[in-house]
């Protein structure tokens, strides 16, 4: 069952690479949160109940509901245009994401370690790399934050793989999550969409040090 959820997780990555609107990015983030919720429920069956409840609450509240809704609210409030505006065409993005997944499968196949759960490893690595790719290939700051959220989901998946032995790692993943929320709050408080008339990172290259 966990394998099924993780495969669906990879499919969300493919969808993310061809999605056109920023709102569908937030929806995909919410779906990933729900998937992670079920993965946590099925995978972490050896840690104590209080910790499990904490982790599950965090995944469903922060990852699946709060952050995507807040991002959607930011999109409306800061008048950010609804298209993702990638540097590369979506077709190329899809090919690159597929290449990332294949590369991680090949990479993990070459690792001869019996302690490592390969399925989690593949999903985590491909999520981290496609999050990096999304950050590198999209133009707006808000998409950079979304790409960061995706990377962070990947780190969380990786920590789940060893979650039964080392629950502290999962808690560290949650800390990362809360840190990311603070990052989004920064965009919210600074009203980046409003202050710079357009939120194009191109303009950051104009900053100079005298």
């Amino acid at each position: 069952m966990i394998d099924v959820l993780l495969i669906v997780f990879i499919i969300t990555l493919f969808y993310l690479s061809i999605a056109n609107r920023l709102l569908s990015y937030t929806k995909v983030l919410a779906v990933q949160g729900v998937l992670l919720f079920f993965v946590v429920f099925l995978q972490l069956n050896e840690i104590n109940t209080l910790n499990l409840v904490l982790i599950m609450l965090e995944t469903i509240v922060f990852k699946a509901v709060a952050v995507p809704m807040f991002l959607a609210y930011l999109l409306r409030r800061n008048n950010i245009t609804r298209e993702a505006e990638p540097y590369l065409p979506n077709f190329v993005s899809l090919l690159i994401t597929t290449a990332i997944v294949i590369a991680t499968i090949l990479l993990s196949n070459s690792i001869k370690d019996t302690h490592l759960d390969k399925m989690f490893f593949v999903v985590a690595l491909s999520t981290i790399f496609s999050g990096l790719y999304i950050i590198a290939s999209r133009r707006k700051i808000i998409t950079h934050v979304m790409g960061y959220m995706i990377i962070e989901n990947g780190v969380f998946v990786l920590s789940l793989a060893v979650g039964n032995e080392m629950p502290h790692l999962v808690n560290l993943g949650i800390m990362l999550d809360i840190f990311a929320s603070v990052l989004i709050l920064g965009i919210f408080l600074n009203k980046i969409g409003d202050v710079f008339k357009d939120v194009d990172v191109e303009q950051l290259t104009n900053l100079k040090d005298y």
Binding site: D3, F14, F91, K118
Partner: protein, 301 residues
């Protein structure tokens, strides 16, 4: 042998059900279920008109197209009973005999010398090229999973047990339905109702065909849908007895026709430049099926 009869019977009703679903969804009563077949019979009674600029290729292409679809139909099995032809690696034969028919329909469209038809031919060639790896990776991973290489043995040995194999069967059904839509030029890829030549794919290729030839092309299209439906049925009825399998065949074909009708009613056609990435996404999904097959086999851990 059994599959041949079943596919032909399903082909009689398939397009009628699609059309009826579309008209019910848009609040009309719509034509009868047998109307597409009546259209084809009417066309078969007519002669064909050939342009002076076209050559022999334009005249033989519809016949080759139709016969290639019939050849592909002969390979498709049904549950434990083999197709009329069955040999090792016959899914490669299946894919390429369909591709041969498609090749002839493309060069016959180029043969007419119409610029519209050339454009449609180029699109059709591009989309079939993108759809091909999806089908091969899908069938290849099933072959890997079962250890056999012919359609009948693959489907007979494919039994669904664990959660992962349920997921793989769902994904495979999705990929096969979408490949059927691409091969038949239906809605998310191509709009069969469109009246503007610039947005057509398949329709624009057969603009110059008339009478008997057009009847052949249309009936080949009906058969193709039923063939892909039969492939999907085969995913599920590998070990089932005939008294359950035959009703199941018609139920799944009916459901697939209704789904196609509903998709055509409630979705808009993709923009032309989005089609390619959609079709390549199917390849990515079938790569995941391949990955899942490796996981089931335990070659990965």
């Amino acid at each position: 042998m059994l599959s041949l009869f079943l596919i032909v019977i399903a082909a009689f009703f398939f397009t009628g059900i699609v059309v009826r679903t579309k008209s019910l969804a848009s609040g009309r009563k719509g034509p009868g279920i047998m109307q597409p077949i009546k259209d084809v019979i009417r066309l078969f009674k007519k002669g064909a008109v050939y342009s002076k600029t076209s050559s022999i290729i334009f005249q033989i292409a519809p016949t080759i197209y139709f016969s290639s679809v019939v050849m592909a139909m002969l390979v498709v099995p049904f549950g434990q009973s083999k197709g009329l032809i069955s040999f090792n690696c016959d899914f490669i034969f299946f894919a390429y005999v369909l591709a041969l028919g498609k090749f002839f329909s493309i060069i016959s469209a180029l043969d007419t010398g119409s610029s519209f038809e050339g454009m449609g031919a180029s699109r059709e060639a591009l989309y079939s090229m993108f759809a091909e790896p999806a089908l091969f990776i899908l069938m290849g991973s099933f072959a890997l999973l079962t250890g056999y290489t012919s359609f009948q043995e693959i489907f007979a040995a494919l039994h669904i047990g664990s959660y992962l194999s349920y997921a793989l069967a769902t994904l495979a059904t999705f990929v096969l339905v979408m490949i059927a839509m691409i091969e038949n030029s239906r809605m998310p890829i191509d709009d069969p109702k469109t009246h503007l030549e610039l947005t057509m794919i398949h329709e624009v290729m057969i603009l110059d065909n008339s009478g008997f030839d057009l009847g052949l092309l249309l009936s080949a299209g009906y058969l193709k849908f039923a063939i892909y439906g039969a492939l999907i049925v085969n995913l599920f009825v590998g070990m089932v007895d005939y008294q359950y399998a035959i009703p199941l065949f018609f139920i799944i074909q009916f459901l697939m026709a209704v789904v196609v009708g509903l998709i055509e009613s409630f979705m808009a056609r993709f923009r032309m430049n989005h089609n390619a990435q959609f079709i390549v996404a199917l390849t990515s999904v079938s790569l995941l099926i391949f990955f899942g097959a490796i996981l089931i086999l335990g070659k990965f851990n």
